[in-house]
Symmetry: C2
Subunit: 341 residues, 2 copies
């Protein structure tokens, strides 16, 4: 249980440190216009807060900085959400409208604007396979033995890949197979596709083609790509402007995670709906122990349509970021329902 004054002091320290990136001393707090305590009083409270694990001291003769636990308390209890500036609203509106006819494009574009507005890195995940189903499957012949397979999802997302026909399978065979797939798989969520493929589809297929195992695994491969959600990055270099990351080695670790999609996805595991904040070690990924991630899910009537994450230093402007994401996720949900319903 913190006293009112302690809460105020913690809040002041977090705010100051977010702004300056430098340890905050008792004197600088007592000089604030809304504070009427002497530095000594504040020092006592600061010592208490440190004992509670909410503050840390880089070294004896420096000011205090918030600990992970301190940030957590701040985010949970003290934060004041930033409103979204009129001009920013306009910027988001205008530019999203521009890309309106391409859902994933719109989302990732919006995120890239947020990244510019905040000077942090934005990460966008497309719809996941639990909420996406197959809408259409099509084959377009390219040459005698090659064709483009096109997979369209109910979200409007399209995935494609060039396939080479196996020996002894004609383009006509493939056309029939494509028809079969549309019959059997339309409307099936992608996470179930593999199962259906090897049961229903396989049965039919055996009736008129031998050695269909090869074809099945080819189809599975083709459809598999859709299962993995797409990832978009923007403003990855923004971390470089943060003073705490002026050391190249620290930055390398972070950028490496961003560059490798699988490691990046790890960050987004076990997220629940709405807006979530993960501070420092809470992320559970070694390399970004010094970063915080704010995520917002975008969904319309039960469908998870995407996730937007903002990655910055633990010393992040939480209020501003949460405010922006809150606004944005609402706006994008509205956009989606208008477009696709």
């Amino acid at each position: 249980m913190l006293s009112e004054r302690q809460r105020m002091i913690l809040s002041a320290i977090v705010d100051d440190y977010i702004r300056s990136a430098e340890p905050v001393g008792s004197r600088s707090i007592s000089k604030r216009s809304d504070v009427s305590f002497s530095p000594a009083t504040i020092r006592n409270d600061m010592a208490d807060l440190e004992e509670l694990g909410l503050l840390e001291q880089p070294h004896t003769s420096a000011g205090r900085i918030p600990s992970i636990k301190g940030y957590r308390y701040y985010v949970d209890h003290l934060i004041r959400l930033g409103g979204v500036k009129e001009q920013d609203v306009k910027r988001l509106r205008g530019l999203v409208a521009e890309k309106m006819n391409h859902w994933e494009g719109a989302v990732s574009h919006a995120a890239s604007i947020v990244s510019q507005l905040t000077n942090y890195t934005s990460i966008v995940l497309g719809p996941d396979s639990f909420h996406t189903s197959l809408k259409h499957f099509q084959l377009l012949p390219l040459t005698e033995t090659t064709a483009v397979a096109i997979v369209v999802a109910n979200t409007g997302h399209v995935e494609h890949r060039t396939i080479t026909l196996p020996e002894g399978v004609s383009m006509d065979d493939m056309r029939r197979i494509a028809g079969l797939l549309n019959d059997k798989l339309t409307g099936v969520p992608f996470y179930k596709v593999k199962t259906v493929l090897y049961t229903e589809v396989a049965n039919e297929l055996r009736s008129y083609i031998d050695h269909c195992e090869h074809i099945l695994s080819l189809l599975e491969d083709t459809l598999k790509e859709e299962t993995e959600p797409k990832v978009f990055l923007s403003g990855a270099t923004n971390i470089l402007t943060q003073p705490e990351f002026k050391d190249v080695d620290k930055v390398k670790g972070i950028l490496d995670v961003l560059e490798e999609t699988p490691r990046l996805m790890q960050l987004f595991q076990s997220l629940s709906e709405g807006i979530q904040v993960r501070i420092g070690t809470e992320n559970g990924v070694e390399a970004i122990n010094q970063c915080s991630l704010v995520t917002a899910t975008i969904s319309a009537d039960g469908h998870l349509l995407g996730t937007i994450g903002i990655l910055g230093p633990t010393r992040m402007e939480y209020g501003k970021v949460i405010g922006l994401l809150d606004y944005l996720s609402g706006d994008l949900t509205r956009l989606y329902t208008r477009l696709y319903k």
Copy 2:
């Protein structure tokens, strides 16, 4: 006109500096087993080479480092191309085969392996619009008023986008339009598409639809994306391991260029066929004056199918990189002809 000894010294300095990133002194050269001159002799030649602008001195009491001009001479006259190691060949072979059924995937994947092998950054440009033509255009209805437009290129590349039907245009109208487009545009190179669209297609269209300007610009937008070649990046963070880029500010400038596609494309302007080396300021882009770019085009019978670029410090292992790209471009050309011919 350089003497044989001067050429040897220049070569030795470049090689040493590439390896160590530190100024090379006369003593260290004279100690090489294949050298039989005294440091003093070497110093004299070094002074000459400096006067010719091939070498530079960071400060009076340091060794020499190659200048841009020095690297240029090295690349043009002294370089020994690196062979490709057996294990690297296997790696490239195996992994390219894996992605074989997806041309751009294969190229970008190969490039990412090169980036790992060299520890530099690889940049891949897809086929450009001069050598790509429309293969097929298709519309798939999503809802009452929206549809996915799919554009397939002769390279097997697929581009898509969700469009919203304009007021007063039915899905049936759109279907007829799609048929028309396939009639008129199949086989047309993308850089001509706009022209054909506004002449031939527009004429037909006017005969049965009013106010078709809106539709035309919608179609143009849809087809335009294909015009811009796709860009793939890999190993962007590798620069961070180079000692000359341990300063965050320098790195920031470079990574910023990599992150913005248009600025990145600028680097690839006015490239000719085959392998090209651009050293430091030769790139003509301020931010990467300290980097070199080695590019290789991949083409089969007149079609430019892609460009692979390797970006590293001016102190780059030119021999190794050129050797790898040379091998790779040949291999990919073979792969392409096997797949699509």
